[in-house]
């Protein structure tokens, strides 16, 4: 049996608290914590404007793709990436070896403010995720819990 690492409701509340505090201070719209494989770990903010799943997949790809660029100038990887648009922007920074934080923001704030607060937020998120792995609680389920009925309806 392989247990899947899990965030308890308490863990999620703590993570949401950190991310909410960050959004308020940085005046950003949305922040998403993802693993480097593109899976969403947690998200906070206005999620109505975009598909967070796709943002996560593309951001993980973008972060990974620039790693080789970083190596060419003697870095292991870039700690942060910034994509500037006309009105909306994305800032991504490394949380730990397995995790990235994405922040989407608009005209209300500046990249400097987002960058400043994201550094301490990343540290808090990293500490929380580290404590999670130390507690070692995982999730597994009975085989009977897996549905045998069709799920998706065709068009």
């Amino acid at each position: 049996m392989n247990a899947i690492p899990c965030l308890t409701i308490e863990d999620v509340a703590n993570l949401d608290g950190i991310l909410s505090n960050f959004l308020n201070k940085a005046e950003a719209e949305l922040t998403v914590v993802i693993d480097r494989g593109g899976n969403v770990i947690s998200q906070f903010g206005d999620m109505t404007v975009m598909d967070v799943t796709i943002i996560a997949a593309l951001a993980a790809g973008s972060f990974a793709a620039t790693k080789e660029l970083a190596r060419r100038i003697g870095e292991v990887e870039f700690n942060a990436l910034y994509h500037q648009g006309n009105g909306n922007h994305i800032f991504m920074n490394s949380v730990d070896d397995d995790t990235i934080m994405i922040t989407v923001f608009g005209r209300r704030t500046t990249v400097g403010l987002v960058r400043f607060y994201s550094a301490s937020t990343a540290q808090s998120v990293a500490a929380l995720l580290k404590s999670l792995s130390n507690t070692g609680h995982g999730f597994s389920f009975d085989a009977s819990d897996i549905t045998a009925t069709p799920i998706f309806a065709g068009q």
Binding site: M1, P5, C6, L58, G61, A65, F141, D145, I146
Partner: protein
Amino acid sequence: MSIINYASREIQFKIVYYGPALCGKTTNLAYIHQRINPENRGDLVSLATAADRTLFFDFLPLNAVVIKGFVTKFQLYTVPGQVIYNATRQLVLRSVDGVIFVADSQWEKMEENVESFKNLEDNLAKQNISIDEIPYVLQYNKRDLENTAPVNYLEYVLNNRKRRVQSFEVVSSSGQNVFASLNAVSQILLHKFSKQSDVPKTAPAPVAIPVEPPVAQKQSAAV
């Protein structure tokens, strides 16, 4: 492997379509995207060249309720098949939970199939994942063409291992067995994480409705 979020009651799994160049990986995703209820899927994202060759990856998110009380998100990726993009394939394989290996059934593609499968093994090994442990199934694609190798030969070349996996005769352009292979790998990886971790000995029950042409779904090997 992703983290389960108890607050949103979500589990995510990453399934990667792997195989040689032009074997039909993107066609698989395009067919699934076309036939699945839009409420249960997101947009199909393709990072392709001007000539529609996959440059980075294709990505299709699917939602389902397959474990009691949890929304399960299947994230389908393809890798670029061209030999020169091996670094990209390694990136896409990161945190993979299941693999569908798409082989091109044409005789002249056998060498590329074998090279690609070996490349999959090597790239998984770089993540400390053994091909013998990860859930995967084989697709023998393009069965509608005339110059295809017999299934027995493909089995001998690609499925001649200690652990034989399920394999499917597929025509990804028409959708034949596209859903069957996706269902199979989904069920295998779900059972991997269940308390009774043995993979079901019988053919797995469908996770997604195969919305396919009314052709017999040939399944040439069982687990």
